[in-house]
């Protein structure tokens, strides 16, 4: 673009403000829990108190007597197939004869007030025969362990990777066992939505979700209705982070709405939300690295176990990531990986930001430090030495065919300025324990830790990963206006800002309207796997190109001239002469709909795990500086600096926001976030007992953004949202190890791990 061209703001590379920002700061933005209909009733869910039980009988008599109750539904009221699930249809919409985890939905109540509905639900008498629960995933595959599902053993997926020498040896061998606790997405806006019956047997559902079309398919199956009769519209989403990939109240509200003939609102309370969505898989990892004395990795072995809980959800894909990416962004010639996901009667686990890579990263980064120490090498340089570069092969034999700046990333974070060394009298608020005044600096030790990791972008292993965009260009009040319509969910990441930026850039129009997200346009795919800017961005770009071609075709016909182009809002001939304005040519609207796919990926070989499983890799590194009160076990993260290659920053401010947010969530897992499950029972379903980082926990962050364009991706973009969640936690854990000298082979690191 030349400087003489009129440059409108809000194109790619700018950081325009999000179009929904003003509504969000004034309180006018309607989240799913704000929806209201004048004659609506409220739906609530009765959930199983047991992790494993047979349902002998359900007695509704007392509950139905509660005044104000309009319906109570159980499995026998499901008109279609009582089965949902992202990868396996193994999850009943309502428990049918058996419950497999604490919190499984058993019955639904609709009433004129949520309190009435709750009181009625409490009067439902469920006769449970409590069964032994499978609660230790490490013995889930033993022959004498009962099956969680009568028709299937407890193995959800078993992935193996075999590459190079099957029995390699190396002069230096290090190994470890690591354990990662169960993390929650803890989005702030609870699961909620409104189902409105259309009076003709169909229903409209307004809901907060990550993928409208995959929800629609599941709801249709349970209701026994075709997609025309089940229409979904995205309601305001109060955060997602993977926790809205599976259904929550979607089917339930629709069942109640169709049954009562009334609009039904459902909104989970916070404690219920801990049972209402899947969590990040807890994992048990056993790793071994063999290396030369000079630090080069010769081989790596890993055995990774994910607890999938009661239902499959996205466990197969999480195992896919944990297995294929679980050794980190390193060049390793000889590889032996076994990754498994199993069924238990623990809470169901599935998607969360970082998806299978987060757990593995704690293990491979701890072991990399161990290896560096063993051979007396610098912890940063050993990563730089072994780090992938473009053209290397991954452990599945795939060529990394765009930038892989591992060495640059890790050295970049090392070279960023460090926070000042503590000296003299310190402000207690800056110390571990903060204003609770637990130390004046005695017993406080500083540590620094590093980590570098990578993540696949988009859906992998042969999945048909596409998005659909409809772009319309028309003249409104003499001005050209573009409307962009996709079903891709905005969850706070800023996709709608990017959609506008792409339209402005491609079509040269200033005004871009973002159509509400709904199922009247084709699927946008999931808002997950850091894929929307890439895939829906690609679709919007392609739709804009189609619109532009149509406009120019029309202009050529009308003006009888060839070789026209669009320049801002002007139609320009080859010689540069302006022949018409866009508004003159747009007598009728031009509209194009495009389905866009990234390069295909392929399934991996079931015996060797070899194959081109992924479409793109995204790399990031972190350096954490912590102060640890070694007497009390309290940790203060003093700085959390990061470098990440984003390919191209289409909206630089939004990129930084994603990196900050993702880093905080990874830090949370390292320090404080764990759903504690004992014998299949969740012990801490509240924000008092499940802690997430507050503004005081958020450390200063220096963020270095590298832009090595990926030639295979639209505009060169690389997914941004997940990598920071993967490398931040291991860096924090490493820093605590450095401060304390403790091995710390489990996260979150609790005070007692530090003090004893």
């Amino acid at each position: 673009m030349t400087s003489t061209e009129t440059r409108m703001a809000g194109r790619l590379g700018d950081s325009p403000l999000r179009p929904d920002g003003t509504l969000k700061v004034t309180g006018e933005f309607a989240y799913s829990s704000d929806l209201w209909h004048d004659d609506m009733v409220w739906g609530v869910t009765l959930r199983s108190p047991h992790p494993s039980a047979r349902i002998r009988a359900i007695d509704l008599t007392d509950a139905l007597r509660v005044p104000g109750v309009s319906a109570i539904l159980t499995a026998k009221d499901v008109p279609g197939e009582n089965a949902v699930g992202l990868e396996h249809l193994d999850t009943p919409a309502l428990a049918d004869g058996v419950v497999r985890y604490q919190g499984e939905p058993v019955a639904l109540v609709a009433a004129d007030h949520p309190e009435t509905a709750r009181r009625a639900a409490a009067r439902i008498v469920v006769d449970y025969e409590v069964l032994p629960a499978v609660t230790d995933p490490r013995t889930a595959l033993d022959p004498d362990t009962p099956w969680v599902h009568a028709d299937h053993d407890n193995l959800v997926r078993d992935l193996r990777i075999r590459r190079g020498d099957p029995s390699p040896t190396a002069p230096v061998v290090v190994s470890l066992d690591f354990e990662v606790g169960m993390q929650d997405q803890a989005f702030l806006g609870p699961e909620s939505g409104l189902a409105v019956p259309d009076g003709e047997g169909g229903v409209d559902l307004y809901v907060a979700t990550q993928w409208l079309h995959v929800d629609q398919g599941q709801v249709c199956r349970v209701l026994g209705l075709p997609p025309e009769q089940v229409r979904l519209t995205l309601a305001g989403v109060g955060g997602a982070f993977g926790g809205r990939e599976d259904l929550s109240m979607h089917v339930h509200a629709c069942l109640l709405a169709l049954h009562t003939g009334k609009p039904v609102k459902m909104s989970y309370a916070r404690d219920e939300s801990f049972f209402g969505h899947v969590h990040r898989h807890p994992a048990w990892l056993r790793y071994e690295f063999g290396a030369r004395e000079t630090g080069e990795l010769v081989y790596a072995k890993a055995d990774i176990l994910f607890d999938g809980g009661a239902y499959a959800s996205s466990t197969p894909a999480v195992v896919g990531n944990g297995g294929t990416l679980g050794l980190g962004p390193y060049r390793i010639p000889n590889v032996h990986v076994d990754a498994r996901g199993v069924y238990t009667n623990n809470p169901t686990c599935g998607a969360m930001r970082g998806f299978g890579c987060v757990q593995a990263a704690f293990a491979h980064e701890a072991l990399m430090d161990e290896l560096a120490d063993r051979i007396g090498m610098d912890r940063v340089e050993i990563r730089a030495l072994n780090g992938m570069v473009e053209g290397d092969l991954t452990i599945t034999g795939q060529v990394v065919d765009s930038a892989a700046p591992v060495a640059e990333l890790i050295r970049t974070v090392r070279d960023l300025p460090l926070p000042a060394e503590p000296a003299g009298e310190r402000d207690i608020r800056e110390l571990p324990g903060g204003a609770s005044n637990t130390t004046h600096g005695e017993g406080v030790r500083r540590g620094i830790g590093y980590a570098v990791t990578y993540k696949n972008v988009g859906f992998s292993e042969g999945f048909d990963d596409y998005s659909t965009a409809r772009v319309r260009l028309e003249v409104v009040g003499g001005e050209p206006v573009a409307t962009v319509h996709t079903a891709a969910a905005e969850v706070g990441q800023g996709l709608i800002t990017i959609e506008q930026q792409i339209c402005r850039t491609e079509l040269g129009v200033e005004q871009v309207v973002v159509h509400p997200k709904d199922t009247t346009v084709g699927s946008g795919g999931s808002t997950s796997a850091s894929r929307q800017t890439y895939v829906t961005g690609g679709a919007v770009k392609a739709a804009c190109e189609a619109v532009r071609a149509s406009v120019l075709r029309r202009a050529s016909e009308a003006l009888g001239r060839a070789e026209l182009r669009l320049d801002g809002e002007k139609i320009v001939a080859a010689g540069g002469e302006v022949v018409a304005s866009l508004a003159e040519v747009l007598t009728d609207p031009v509209e194009e709909t495009v389905e866009w796919r990234h390069r295909p990926t392929y399934p991996i070989d079931p015996e060797t795990g070899q194959g081109n499983a992924h479409v793109q890799y995204a790399f990031s590194a972190h350096r954490a500086v912590v102060d640890v009160d070694v007497e009390l076990g309290l940790v203060k993260v003093v700085a959390l600096d990061t470098a990440q290659d984003v390919g191209r920053a289409l909206n630089p401010d939004a990129v930084v926001g994603q990196i900050q947010g993702g880093s905080a969530q990874g830090m949370g897992l390292a320090l404080m976030e764990e759903i504690v499950v004992q014998d299949g029972i969740v012990k801490n379903p509240s924000f008092t007992d499940y802690l997430i980082p507050t503004i005081l926990d958020m450390p200063p962050m220096q963020v270095k953004v590298l832009e090595y364009a990926d030639p295979h991706a639209p505009y060169g973009v690389r997914g941004v949202g997940e990598p920071p969640t993967i490398s931040s936690g291991p860096a924090v854990a490493a820093a605590i190890r450095a401060a304390t000298g403790k091995p710390l082979r489990r996260v979150p690191v609790r005070p007692e791990h530090i003090t004893f």
């Binding site: 920002g21 309180g27 933005f29 702030l188 806006g189 955060g239 916070r270 800023g494 503004i695």
Partner: protein
């Protein structure tokens, strides 16, 4: 019981159960949904409103006990213009999903009005899962300097 609430300058009469929280009274009876229900247990700050200028958690306040005027995020704008704190939150992009934002804004307004010394300490009851914290701090800084220059002009 019958109660009267003054919300955002309007007097509203309500007949409610004495156990109804201010948050439910606002959201479900008066249709004022700016204050959010993130936990209903005083743990997240999303429901923060002002009672007589003081930030309170509406989910922990019984509506029937409220005598003084209530201000919610919807009541901050003056003359059709957003409050400087709201302006600052939008301009600094101090949000991602925005679910925490009405609560953050109400706490931030109090922080600016009371000229608190330690903004982060003051705001630590407002969780943001998107961790837009750096921009939240920047927004409060911006609103503070807007206020200081306005005060200096008076």
């Amino acid at each position: 019981m019958d109660i009267t609430l003054e919300v955002n300058g309007e007097t509203r009469h309500l007949s409610i159960d004495p156990r109804v929280t201010l948050l439910d009274a606002l959201r479900e009876r008066l249709g004022i949904t700016g204050p959010k229900k993130g936990c209903d247990r005083g743990q997240c700050g999303a429901c923060t409103v002002h009672v007589d200028g003081r930030p309170v958690l509406a989910c922990l306040t019984l509506a029937a006990t409220v005598r003084e005027p209530v201000r919610t995020v919807e009541g901050l704008a003056a003359d059709g213009r957003p409050h400087p704190v709201q302006q600052a939150f939008a301009e600094q992009d101090a949000l991602q999903c925005g679910f925490c934002t009405s609560g953050q804004v109400m706490s931030a307004v109090a922080a600016v009005e009371q000229e608190v010394a330690d903004v982060r300490e003051f705001m630590s009851g407002n969780l943001c899962r998107c961790a837009a914290y750096p921009n939240i701090v920047a927004a409060v800084e911006q609103a503070r300097s807007t206020k200081e220059s306005a005060d200096a002009r008076v």
